[in-house]
Symmetry: C2
Subunit: 290 residues, 2 copies
């Protein structure tokens, strides 16, 4: 799956590409149906919403769940990212974000690369975010919002917000958000929120500023967020546990295009539980030998 010149230009200008309905209903169902059991587990990799038992984010399902292990190697997801970054990729982070009906809380405005740089010492922004909808996304269930073109601003100084939600995040200052939205068109296009059926995919630049609102609707809005990093750009510090920021920099080998609907062997190294090593972290001033 090669992207067209127009898609390359669009990505460069806007910082994202939207592929509505990229995965079929049958393919998506293999993923969606696996989520409740994963969310029910009382494990470190399930982070729950503040003041609620609803899962905010599940980490590293591709290490212990067969359908998600296949998704992590799916050519329809990996190949366009490799095309945009022009290099082999490894999986830096793998999340299934809940944004559950009634309970889903906000994600404040942020760049993902801010976190990867500040926490993980990822050298440059040569990494890509991928969002895959496991539920239909509409205006009522807290869609992802982007400020088009905001990736051009490069890496933005951020402050570590430890209190707003249950998950610490390096967030962007309100005044700068106002400027970026104005520059992108204010009320006319300064914010966009791609909506579409389950199975849709968004690729977005690791410096693209994004956020999402609360979900007060009775519609779940579960989505997989994969972060693929160029192998040469692997992280240099292991301050966060391995289930949050992965340490295996082996290039992702793709499975065939029909992998979600057929049996293909995939390794599930954490299927019997998190190994102790996945919880180990290094202190602030330790760096990993590259």
């Amino acid at each position: 799956m090669k992207l067209s010149t127009a898609q390359h230009r669009q990505f460069d200008r806007d910082g994202y590409l939207f592929f509505p309905g990229l995965f079929s209903a049958d393919e998506t169902r293999t993923l969606t149906e696996a989520v409740p059991e994963l969310y029910s587990r009382r494990e470190a990799y399930n982070v729950r919403e503040k003041g609620s038992d609803a899962v905010r984010t599940n980490f590293a399902a591709h290490m212990y769940s067969e359908p998600f292990a296949k998704l992590a190697r799916h050519p329809r997801m990996v190949e366009p990212v490799a095309d945009l970054l022009g290099e082999e990729l490894y999986m830096h982070q793998f999340k299934i974000n809940g944004k559950m009906a009634f309970e889903g809380d906000v994600w404040q405005w942020h760049q993902d690369y801010g976190t990867w740089r500040n926490d993980d010492q990822m050298p440059t922004e040569r990494a890509m975010n991928v969002a895959i909808f496991l539920d239909d996304v509409n205006e009522y269930n807290g869609p992802l919002m982007f400020i088009p073109g905001s990736h051009k601003r490069g890496v933005i100084d951020a402050k570590h917000d430890l209190t707003t939600t249950s998950y610490p995040l390096w967030t962007v200052d309100n005044e700068l958000i106002r400027q970026l939205v104005d520059r992108a068109g204010g009320k006319n296009g300064g914010i966009v929120a791609p909506k579409g059926p389950a199975g849709s995919m968004i690729l977005f630049h690791s410096c693209l500023v994004h956020a999402s609102g609360s979900n007060l609707s009775p519609f779940n809005r579960v989505a997989v967020y994969l972060s693929l990093c160029a192998v040469s750009n692997h992280i240099r510090r292991h301050k966060r546990p391995e289930y949050i920021a992965h340490r295996d920099f082996t290039p992702i080998p793709c499975l065939p295009d029909d992998c979600l609907l057929r049996d293909y062997p995939v390794e599930l190294p954490w299927k019997d539980g998190l190994p102790a090593s996945a919880l180990q972290t290094t202190s602030d001033d330790q760096r990993i030998a590259a």
Copy 2:
């Protein structure tokens, strides 16, 4: 301003009517420009967001601000409500809700009449909500969401939510919300969120279930919420202060249609500050002689 038969039918079926751009930009500006000074006051009638200095709701501005006193008597607002309720009206509640850029918090799913009954002992649901936009409303700044037809369910048992936000609210159970949304069309029309320019007006039934999301955008979404009650249906208890639930049951006299743009004398009984009586409340078991 008489409503058409079609509008009466639509209100009966859906529980709301939307009038985009009912007030001109010039008229709306007289209101919007008065808000920052009102919000800056350190008074009991300004309720601020949880953990923030942004105003969540300002009460009773029609008692101390000239433009809002005129709005409270505006024929384009009062006459359609009188037409729908078929009786003279008094002002039960008058709020300017902030839903400010970046800071605006959610309002959970609720019926307004639930609060008026539980807290104020308003005998029946013969009262109407009016929302008037002072800012453009779009999908990003936390628009009001309705479940069409949910007013037909009548008064719903509610629980008093004292913790989610800074303002106590009688809220509706999630499972019932799910049922009401399903009945109204689920993902196809089960929730609606009228959007439009500043100056737009919504009339909605006091039993219509509604909510609104957080406002993460850089766009303020200030709106006036007026609650007009049939005079015969006045409240029987003064458990809440007078600036929240008014005690003057005199029918509203309308001003001319051009009142927002011209000088018309209006009384401002609280222009020099809240009188002590406006803070007095009666205990749970005291009732007001009708």
